[in-house]
Symmetry: D2
Subunit: 345 residues, 4 copies
């Protein structure tokens, strides 16, 4: 059985394991105040070209989203996001648990537009009864989205412009950031993110690390007292250097991006294999997740040798499924999948 | 410089590192539903003799405390604990953040008594205005306490009896559980915990793991839907098997207890070294934390070669300091400290 | 200017004012533990035929909704309701503020169906990832709805049946309960509510009282410690007897229902006046809110002499507006409105 | 039986009842946006000499405290207050319910000092582990305190100075504000409050109104979006004008202060009656609450004809009790109590 169910099936890239081994007996202060975290933060500031940024390391994505959002909103404010946004669907109400409504907007291929956000903000603030409604206080997007699609630079710029007009922060969930930045057709560079968003994170868990998400506040004013919030949300790792060590490795000589690029290219091959047999896709995308729409028979047939996720019901005869590649996907696994598709459909 | 500041200065015991290496490319389901977590849970059920127990793995202590407490209380309920309890002092209000008041009781050497708890419960429930006050809905103790002291079996039994009378759960924070169970003079056995408490956890972070806390619900009814709460609190690790793998190692052939015992014995030597020179202690205890009361000159002198924490102001001339041993403390380090004390005080 | 903007434009029905005057210097215990509250609760139990019920009095609707919902849900649970539900739209996130997600379902004329609720519950509980999602723990409906429509007895029965199957409570927001029960075509009787729902309230604010909502728990087990929650949510009125006194008056000799019936009949006249001129309505309904769809010119013309609310944009030329009647609406006001419509459209 | 149990035993002063009667059929917008609320706010601005202030009306004290505190704090912040503070003891954890820890300081006669507050702030901010602790973000005091004592102008100035140094707001719970300002020995004037605090409220419930608390933000920046928070906390009364109408009456020609002064003078007579017989008091104070310490026999004897509260156990033979006067206390009632004391002790 060859597994494509998700991009967190394995441990971590071998370089990280080696770094953990080498540093294991070092004695450092806890809670992220160690030289590894400092150096990793510096590397992130360098790679994303935001020398003034505050960088904080957390363990996982749900924790990061809830902590960042709680750090920015007042109690009567909510966060605008796509209906399909991770915070709206798959975090067991962590945002609501800290008191804030998720203000979901209809999504197109997992994305929301500047026009939608502007409309929501204008509608709220011009409503006579606005004080009876949750005030939009922040915008959350995922890059890439939960459907593996990416925003163009122009789309991101427009979203950020609206946010600036209304003086609310734009927060980019980058759990799969690298896969997005390395996707073919992506015209956003790492150095664009600090300019086009107010808070973003560089996901580790799904991109070669054992765990870890690096939150970047390009303009430190928004990060005031953020460490208190990390601690309150249970995200302050005692042995914080484990996060620093991992990001030192990932940021070293572009490893983070190399791993992502390789996974994206392998996903392209999967896409191409399905496309060449005439299958369509739930969305057109170029990152490490592939969502072919397959007839039930094809799904059953593939299931014998390959692991993947059933993603969404499409019609009587077909479902959309998801194949994920990752830093750990072997070239051989892709070749087998290609061969199977070629010969069986 | 030899470091005794805390018991989380280093990475993890080498056996864990090796297990992570060996399992690194295994492909498993995420979120704790993998064979390693299953096996580790079985081992914990066996070691603590609670075959019916539900076992859940979380990343860190603050997260674990907040999640467990939120899972048990209704909104108008609070948690009784020692004034010096970790949840009351050092978790940035994580418990309040999920809506619950910490009902602090005066502590003696870090401990609270069954009589105090009974008095608090009786006072509340007999008060005409009780509905205007937070209802005690749970008791939280640490074993060992934040001052490294331990409850006797009788004390624990009495606490549990009160809790049973009032039908509220007794929750034992076991961030340093092993150090407590292996302390000289401890008359509580692993198998007593499921009988004498309702929820407890087996701390990993401070006892040889990179991170991790294993929560045990001896009677599964209290664990209903607990995984939802873990997820909501941001404690559900995507690569959950990292926790399972670590606990498999720690529970194997008693490693967890061996590491703790060794650290306790090394701490005993530190205690003895100070005691033999006539120093007194903030508390009398037998676990891996040592709290000698030292004159300022002695503190300064020791600081040149040894790292330790200033813990508490005592009087004009003296402070209490803390030396911690851990699974990682080298025998050589203890010998040097002993020698220094012997020759300089 | 004759006002139809809402059903809370005036003070209270004169009988209540008189009762407040007569009881003003009585000395009673505070916080709802006085003879007036006791007697009013008895009267409600009698009128709604639920002799075992617990009855609690709160000040306003948002407070009541948030308090009831918080009293029933565990932290990972949310409340199913219509997209147009008051808790979803017009309470500034009070439900989220106490930690719970509102799980909005598409509404038809303000209503949700048993089939929708069943589908949502089945979908949740059969989802492999359910622990990553908010668990539906309650159903909230408004009777009448925010659009003035009412559930039929069969619809309510079906909703309750689903809730019972899944063992979650059905909560009926009765801010305008009387207007619903007295609506023409309503086949639900007061005595049906305790049988067909688990919690409901008898709204006072919009039905003749200065303020006040009487929450009824037909089966007291669901009301455990509810007074603690009222207090915590700031809803426990010091001079609680003010609520008791008002409900004594409203429940006396059916006054509550008479006032509602009269308002409904006046609304019927407004509806008929518009209908006879060929206007259509946003919804077909029979309670005290009327939602004609009017061209802009008609809206402007009416605005000169009548106050009403612009409710919803319909198309380029027309908006839906809302006219409300209430216990306080004068027959003369309706006659003038009828005349105006008759002569001008 | 003559009742002195509390200052909210009766309805309201007759002038308010009359105003409610006269305005009953006026039609006004809801939610506090009516001419009565506007005028009442103006009167409060005038009486307290704070022409720039924002004034908001809420229904009750617990609601007001929770709403104000939630409006000022970030999630990791808590509120400093006296251990005996109402928010710490008697509000069923409403503050914690919105996520914030109450940071209780030992009180002297119900009061805390500037020195205590400064010490707490300095201790927090100089602590190496401060991010693991709740950050003090606000100071709450009651004036008068829960023990009926009052701060001197100098004490209040000192508290405010500390708060300004640390840039955190000083919030004065004025549920019994009038009784404090009119107390003999009080050297604080109404116009001092806007200068010496950042937020305060003018309590109505216990001082002649049916209900109501008027929150004053002398410097409006702190009130940003406060109405959203009122709504979220369930404190926005639909018929908001009821609050405006009551405060119009109370602020008219000094009625609020006259009622308070009269009650304070009656309380002085109660105090004097007990003092002349040699009884001591739990605290020395001059407001409308009197706390004599009485032997059990005296308590029993008094109980036959007078209602009062048992407040606190003092020793084997004696308890402290509480007698309250209010705007409604009749001179005759005081005379009877005086006579009883004179003849029986």
């Amino acid at each position: 059985m060859i597994h494509f169910e998700s991009d967190y099936l394995e441990g971590c890239c071998p370089q990280i394991l080696e770094a953990l081994r080498q540093t294991n007996l070092e004695q450092t202060l806890g809670y992220g105040e160690d030289p590894h975290c400092e150096k990793a933060a510096d590397m992130i500031r360098y790679v994303f070209d935001c020398p003034e940024a505050e960088v904080h390391f957390l363990v996982g994505g749900t924790q990061t989203n809830a902590t960042v959002i709680a750090s920015q909103l007042r109690p009567h404010q909510g966060v605008l996001c796509a209906e399909s946004g991770h915070i709206n669907i798959h975090e067991t109400g962590a945002v609501e648990s800290s008191g804030h409504k998720v203000l979901a907007l209809p999504a197109t291929d997992g994305k929301i537009s500047a026009a939608q956000v502007r409309q929501a903000l204008e509608a709220h603030h011009s409503d006579f009864s606005r004080e009876h409604m949750v005030q939009p206080g922040m915008v959350y997007i995922s890059f890439p989205t939960e459907l593996g699609t990416i925003y163009s630079r122009q789309e991101l710029e427009e979203l950020h412009t609206v946010c600036q007009e209304w003086e609310i922060p734009l927060f980019v969930d980058g759990a799969r950031l690298g896969y997005g930045l390395e996707a073919s057709g992506c015209n956003i560079l790492p150095k664009d993110l600090p300019r086009l968003s107010d808070i973003f994170y560089v996901g580790g868990t799904k991109q070669g690390a054992l765990f870890g998400e690096a939150v970047v506040f390009p303009r430190p004013a928004l990060a005031e007292d953020f460490r208190y919030l990390i601690k309150q949300h249970g995200g302050m790792l005692a042995k914080g250097r484990l996060l620093g060590i991992q990001y030192e490795v990932l940021m070293n000589e572009g490893l983070y991006f190399q791993l992502a690029r390789r996974a994206d290219r392998l996903a392209d091959r999967v896409r191409e294999a399905f496309r060449s047999k005439g299958f369509s896709f739930l969305v057109e995308n170029t990152t490490n997740q592939v969502f072919p729409i397959l007839p039930h028979a094809a799904i059953e047939s593939l299931s014998a040798g390959f692991g993947f996720e059933c993603w969404q019901h499409v019609d009587e005869e077909r479902d959309a499924v998801r194949f994920c590649t990752s830093w750990a996907t072997e070239e051989r696994a892709i070749a087998e999948l290609e061969a199977y598709i070629r010969h069986n459909f």
